[in-house]
Symmetry: C2
Subunit: 302 residues, 2 copies
Amino acid sequence: MDTTQPSGILSPALTAFTDRLEIDTERTVAHFQWLLGYGCDALVVFGTTSEANSLSVEERTSFLERAVSAGIDPEKLLPGTGCCSLPDSLALTKHAVGLGCTGVLMLPPFYYKAVSDEGMFRYFANLIERVGDARLRIYLYHIPPISQVPISLAVVERLTAEFSGIVVGIKDSSGDWEHTRQVIERFAPSGFRVFPGSELHLLPALRAGGKGCISAFANINPALLQKVFQNWQGPEADTLQQETERQGRTLRKYPVIPALKAILAEFRKDPGWENIRPPLVPLSSPQREALLADLAAAGFEW
Amino acid sequence: MDTTQPSGILSPALTAFTDRLEIDTERTVAHFQWLLGYGCDALVVFGTTSEANSLSVEERTSFLERAVSAGIDPEKLLPGTGCCSLPDSLALTKHAVGLGCTGVLMLPPFYYKAVSDEGMFRYFANLIERVGDARLRIYLYHIPPISQVPISLAVVERLTAEFSGIVVGIKDSSGDWEHTRQVIERFAPSGFRVFPGSELHLLPALRAGGKGCISAFANINPALLQKVFQNWQGPEADTLQQETERQGRTLRKYPVIPALKAILAEFRKDPGWENIRPPLVPLSSPQREALLADLAAAGFEW
């Protein structure tokens, strides 16, 4: 078993942009430090919530280097490296491994739809062979509500069998607890690390044998999630999970990425945090006010 | 009116790969020459059928340069340049304009789903402003069955109003004739160039005021489509369209991209044409045999 692999609370960390919509390294790295200091065990850089898919390969690699230079421990990082094309995924993955990142989170290639299991397997197999580095640790990123391309249980089975020790875990953002439960039941006993992609399933996942969660909500309240993680076997576990769900469901009533950015802008008194790359747009003023009122009513405190 | 803009039969041209799955420039350029010699009026390089989304930005720009150096007239080219990220789309679009390509075909950013019209508009507006070149001609690429992200009629309306002379046309691959009919009815009268993304709607589109079609099927029988285009007002139009539909529907019973590659491999006696990047996979032998028999029965001749 690989003891360097993360457990607990991971945040797909938001990316800050300047007014010209370039990555704002300083603001973003400061957010990473805050997350790691206030409850996150590790960070997914370039997840869906990070607007990874609105960034170029070059923007991703150079930002990652700057973040590590600025003192972010690469062992706390799981960069997203899955793109539509094999060469882009390969470039990002090699780069992350080279920087010493603890693992990578890989979207399936998500342009072509109704892809066969065979094609999906070949894509990952081809990538692993071309990276050709024993340090590689892949977390599969199953997020059919957005990618529209699932990674089937049959593909997980085949990849973990063929690349045991390399394909080590999954972020299950299906939003379907029954699916997450099945993944844990089937693969966790052999050491596969399962993280639901939502705080709503944090406690159930821990009880079933999952390792924690990777949740957008962790961008604004990592401390609460960390409390659930620390106390999951204790008497307060259900109460803490209920509190988490109340706040998490409130956030999810709004477009999540702009909503998170609006919350950071508000509480850090830094309106620049609302900058977001199209096709996403910031919340409208009425949305922002409603969100802040709703969150306060749900017990959220900064 | 812009007389340099293409009409008639356009093929989203297949990309050939070597056994190592690198772009095979020679084979691909030879295919382009064949297409232009046998019925295509222009080519979409890097469309869905070209496996564009399985290529990196660098692979696309350097191949395009090689194709132009090899003698392919850039005025006959509409490269696909729409990616998930604005910087990638910007780099490809600037490059295509710089090479003298007659226009570009742009997918919407297709990772984030349920994007607002406002966000979609801003994405294109931002891109057009940053390209900042009066030669830019954009064809919108509406292909919700694959992208899962539509370009709504409201966005088309706003873009054509704000960027008249730049946003000049659309490839409508909705597969829904009623949608294509509406697009033509609403926008063609002011010069907007509408191409259905399927040969199945070629004749109806021409009769309604469309400009031709951009069809994967053109990769194997551009001559037949050109006959429809040449004769659409003549007495044989319906018969030719029926023949087109018979062959087109037969092709569409199979996974289209591997099927087209299998057909080229067969008739050019060049098995390397079947090379395809994962997550796509070649047809199985039984599929290939069935396809060739079905096509022959539908009247297809090489």
